[in-house]
Assembly symmetry: C2
Homo-oligomer: 248 residues x 2
Amino acid sequence: MRFMTTPDHAAETPAESTGVAAQDWDRASADPQYRAAVVDLLGALAYGELAAFERLAEDAKLAPTLADKAALAKMASAEFHHFERLRDRLAAIGAEPTESMQPFVAALDGFHRQTAPSDWLEGLVKAYVGDSIASDFYREVAARLDRDTRALVLAVLDDTGHAGFAIEKVRAAIDADPRVGGRLALWARRLMGEALSQSQRVVAERDALSTMLVGGVADGFDLAEVGRMFSRITEAHTKRMAALGLAA
Amino acid sequence: MRFMTTPDHAAETPAESTGVAAQDWDRASADPQYRAAVVDLLGALAYGELAAFERLAEDAKLAPTLADKAALAKMASAEFHHFERLRDRLAAIGAEPTESMQPFVAALDGFHRQTAPSDWLEGLVKAYVGDSIASDFYREVAARLDRDTRALVLAVLDDTGHAGFAIEKVRAAIDADPRVGGRLALWARRLMGEALSQSQRVVAERDALSTMLVGGVADGFDLAEVGRMFSRITEAHTKRMAALGLAA
């Protein structure tokens, strides 16, 4: 169950499939820069899933009940299966998975280190925020990908949304004690700020990936369009937080 | 791949299926004491898998490489799926899963607290020892169960053995530095000692489960037979450790 998701599903089925989006992997990957960008993207997503697995499993220790622990463990396990699919795809296209993930370890580990939840509710908000932002990003980026890579990214996306249960728990906690809302609102802003700052670090360091995002090898996206993508993701996040009772 | 396993597979297909072993769940569970024993057993196994998930996921943080981290995460995820099957079975037979697991939380958490690995190799040895002892125990206990419960226990058992990769890593580390073997041998003995001590605690506290193990409601096992079961499991453990280069 998803509580609130990006309303615009256009990215999943591009109205006009031109350029890379109309091609399959074999054809699109003939361009070495596009190939490098996809290896970067899959490497970043794969390590993102592996790191998410690790952190969710760790947060499961904060669970107040066995049922809550099992719910978080289930989310962690789902992330691990996403990791497997992305890693297998990397291997299938001839990229070494570990090498492909390595460039993104510092940024993702940095994000998680800076945002270690101090209690169960912070862990839930982080799981929900992380799951939602990941879904938004997958959906946005899907439109810029060849058919085969897009199918994989959307398949992994389809299987997210395990964080739905987090919403009920967070709402109940805020209902019981409204002051909790203020604290968690600050926390959610810190999560988003840290995510954006680590993303910028990655974009600055990975040429092929950034070039794909700004349209150098894809369907004519420009830098302003990337800015708008980040805006849309931030806006969707803000709306979700408001609906959750976590307005500023 | 399993490195060395209990050679005696007789327990999987009892030569003479009499008593409970010849019955299905509907018939066997008409005996309230047998029913309580199975709920205990499934509760203990379910929480064992959930706790194993949590610990393996935590140990994954000690992994020296991304491939090693992924391997441990895979084992953790497999444990989680075992948990799901056992929990679903508890629900299917009308037992509340959380309630059924609760009596075993203290013993299992105690075991893991007492045996937190201090490095990657200790984590691997623990994963291997834990996986092997669990397999041996599942196999032993299967013979005392009705057909339906036995099928579940053997299905979960079939899916273990993910710790095989641990063996290669441990052997390589001992080859590189034989002193490592001495330290890990002590560690393996401590693991087994702690496992036995927590098991005894459980056996002392859970009447229905213990009664089933000593044959009060099952196929005529006596206390000496339970002692022999523990002996067989310990002996198999010792042989595995010796084969791994971890003799005393």
